[in-house]
Symmetry: C2
């Protein structure tokens, strides 16, 4: 009986693509071996008394061990809880406390974080090189190295907890730049269907991040960000070789791409920038592979650099609180600015997803290409709200729709452009100024590495934009002003959008998700 | 709230691909119009008191009206019951009686059949040209022409019966060549998921019947055969123009392909043969389009003729009692015999489907490329049995698996070859002789149009094969024997497989599903 539960995907991969490789740091196993190891992990957890509904914390880089644990959880009917180790400790404590995690699987290099989490869980199992030598960590808790934990599992059949597709599978936390992370529970059917629809959408269209049955996939998006945008699920589903980069630096990522024949990856724009910088440092002008990017706006300057380096891409739109919603799947391959712009912004809803632009009163705005409103999303894989936060649930999940908090425009051809977060948009003299549009323009200036535009309170206009740029020494304020003036003359920018101030800095502060930390910039500059 | 029900597919098509065409005989509408008409059909049925669980009989060729009704049924939570008008009347009576159909939508050219069915239903609505003038038909029943029926619907919103994906959506009858048709009930989730997985599988692989976002689809498989193998579902899902051929003859089908730019079709091998014959008669040597074929073995001779005519194909395996299970998705494009053979027979399970070859005792046979056993199939869209037939259910649906009644071989590379029906296979001296293998060899002989091999009772061996050929006058028994002897010499055939007799006839009898009627051949020749 097929139940539509997550571990059926790895089961089928072991059966149909048993010899296909899973590469993780120094380890090279097959899907058949990964399945056997996941069964052992499930049996070992079962022996510890872990079962249906128990929450399993996973604090790790993208490794084969973390991969296995995600499938082992499914067999037991347990709930996978991937944790973002880059978050501040107090947020991690909140997450583990809220999840009531019973067991924590943690990378041994993260011992100091684990020490603080250890009082909250019953068991700790060390991933990676083995148990931490530092016995100060996780005092008084049962401690095991994962490989010993596996080899201690009694042989036997796959645990069958009778799980069905409507049972909960995972607990995901947002990585909000302000406030506490919010939690969503997803069912097996959500975590099976949404990643598969990404794969199907990319297979059906002639597009930058097209997926075929010959690709080799390396997710640079961490598992704790919406299950690495589904890559560890659709790769075994499609029988594709999976390369898990562990702690690889951008330079090491380049070597992995070449050595393992990686043809497809996913990453946020910041990671793409770092990869391009590493290529530059390595004297490499070209690296042909496909990238699915998203999570924040892809500036045109970066898009154009990637394009020239041989990288073909599509942009995905979604988030922890809605999974995936839309992708750019433009057939344009030429590198003109219009095409790159479309390829970076013209989102097509993923099949089964509906999108709607709403006014502040909730009425639907016309698909005219210029009416800006909040983007609402409806899909089969929306969660039923934020765990334990009824008021946030009420304001975000309305009549089966999710209010994304993003500003967007609907075009007459059925595509959508997300312009900014509602809370990042600047209201000046009663009119919207969209920071992402300015940031994209600023990124075109030679020597500008990253650009951020934020609102500064203004007595007369309410708010006015200011720009903060991470740029090379060759860039000064007058270069920037000249470029923006030209954009005004060319009709690409309204004059009242011109920033009141331009700050040049060495680096922009980033959030743990690799996005520019605008909260911090507001504190410093506004 | 997205519920995963069938009519969401047409709703989304109207929203995303509203101007894409649906062509049906003399009618040309858009998906947006088809949605509006389906809403009207649902409202008109609602006004008649038809609602949740009521069964809707549809007796029609592939038309836009039948298409709309399939989606209207979904809105009401009613059950669509497509009826095979080619079946004998007593079987149709059995089907409508078993379904307890409340309303019958019938093509006006089928008035004589409808007369017999009319006492069984509450309402009759005429499709096609309008109501039958013959007032003998459907005496005493409310009679309406479909277009009047639609225009009588009160305006208003889409009916919402609160249907969910686990609710029943359709009632399908098998078209068994012997015995009464058996019935299966399928849920919305089955009829959404299975066709979409066909589309996704064909999109992901480089194969003959590859589907892209640019195709134009014309299903020659009738709606009453497993919903035309999903084509009227995945075409709107993908936003593809849909051409419904109505009563088009093979010659008219060729003209439709050319006039409407059809690039993708589905058909059984007999239809493919008729299309190639029509091309020959029209003096057309080439027609470039893609075909998904199946339903019976594709003989190598026919495969090769199609290939030479520019037709690229894949083979699908499935049936009314299991929906779809597997497809050939070979990347081979060259026309060598080995490649054509692989393209016709090496089946890869559709994602989420499991296949297993079992001995008569139910044990799994090895994937060694030669152990012949019964094919068992497991998938998320299996029905829960035959309606009202517990004993047939018990013998066919075992532990979540469906026993297909087909003989097959599993290959070491994970592919499967279906060799024949268990009941058609010939047991001679304790060994299997597979008619389909002989039939394929016989089809290679120039001038042989169709070949059938059946078993004849034999005192010494139990059974022996005999061959019946529909061939041109140029073919005689000695040509056939020479060809088979050569196959034995070349190691393609075991000597004991040589048929004991060869009969040459003008035409082979076909079932309503276009397969050779072996039951009738056995009566005449065995």
């Amino acid at each position: 009986m097929r139940r539509g539960v997550l571990h059926e995907i790895l089961f089928d991969a072991a059966w149909k693509h048993g010899t296909t490789e899973l590469v993780s740091d120094q380890v090279r196993i097959t899907y058949a071996e990964a399945w056997e190891r996941a069964v052992k992990a499930a049996r070992a957890m079962q022996a510890m008394g872990i079962g249906r509904g128990d929450v399993i914390g996973i604090l790790d880089v993208n490794s084969h061990q973390a991969f296995e644990l995600h499938y082992a959880a499914s067999m037991l009917g347990a709930v996978a809880h991937p944790l973002n180790f880059r978050l501040p400790l107090n947020q991690l404590v909140h997450m583990v406390r809220q999840g009531q995690d019973r067991i924590l699987f943690a990378n041994s290099a993260m011992a100091s974080v684990v020490e603080a989490l250890s009082p909250l869980v019953h068991h700790i199992v060390w991933l990676g090189e083995g148990p931490a030598d530092d016995d100060g960590a996780a005092r008084g808790r049962a401690q095991l190295a994962y490989e010993e934990f596996l080899s201690g599992a009694e042989a036997g059949s796959t645990p069958d907890a009778g799980v069905i597709d409507a049972d909960p599978y995972s607990l995901l936390h947002t990585t909000g730049t302000t406030g506490r992370p919010k939690a969503m529970r997803y069912r097996h059917r959500d975590i099976v269907q949404a990643p598969l629809q990404i794969a199907h959408h990319l297979a059906l269209h002639q597009t930058g991040a097209k997926l075929t049955s010959d690709d080799v996939v390396m997710p640079l998006i961490p598992f704790f960000h919406i299950h690495a945008w589904g890559a560890p699920i659709f790769a075994p589903y499609l029988g594709l070789k999976l390369v898990l980069p562990g702690r690889a630096t951008p330079t090491q990522q380049i070597h992995l791409i070449e050595a393992e024949g990686v043809t497809w990856s996913n990453m946020v724009p910041t990671q793409l920038l770092m990869l391009l910088d590493a290529m530059h440092n390595e004297g490499k002008s070209e690296l042909r592979f496909k990238v699915l990017t998203g999570g924040s706006q892809l500036p045109l300057g970066l898009a154009s650099r990637a394009y020239e380096a041989g990288i073909r891409y599509s942009v995905i739109y979604g988030g922890s609180d809605q999974l995936c919603a839309a992708m750019t799947v433009s057939a344009h391959t030429a590198g003109s600015r219009e095409n790159l712009e479309a390829l970076s912004s013209r989102l097509i809803p993923i099949p089964m997803v509906r999108m709607s632009i709403r006014s502040e009163e909730g009425g639907e705005l016309p698909a005219d290409g210029h009416s800006v409103g909040e983007l609402w999303v409806e899909s089969p894989w929306l969660p039923n709200g934020y765990v334990g936060d009824e008021s946030a649930t009420k304001s975000s999940y309305v009549d089966g729709w999710f209010r994304t908090g993003d500003l967007a425009v609907a075009h007459p051809d059925g595509t959508f452009t997300v312009v900014d977060r509602v809370k990042d948009a600047i209201k000046s003299g009663g009119e919207w100024i969209i920071p992402s549009v300015l940031e994209s323009l600023l990124s075109e200036i030679a020597g500008v590495r990253m650009a951020a535009v934020i609102g500064r309170p203004d007595e007369r206009w309410g708010e006015r934009p200011i720009a903060i740029l991470a740029a090379e020494d060759s860039v000064d304020a007058s270069t920037v002003k000249l470029h923006l003036e030209k954009a005004v003359e060319d009709g690409r920018l309204a004059r009242f959008w011109l920033p009141d101030a331009i700050h040049l800095v060495d680096d922009l502060p980033l959030t743990s998700a690799g996005k520019v930390n605008k909260a911090e910039l507001r504190l410093r500059f506004a």
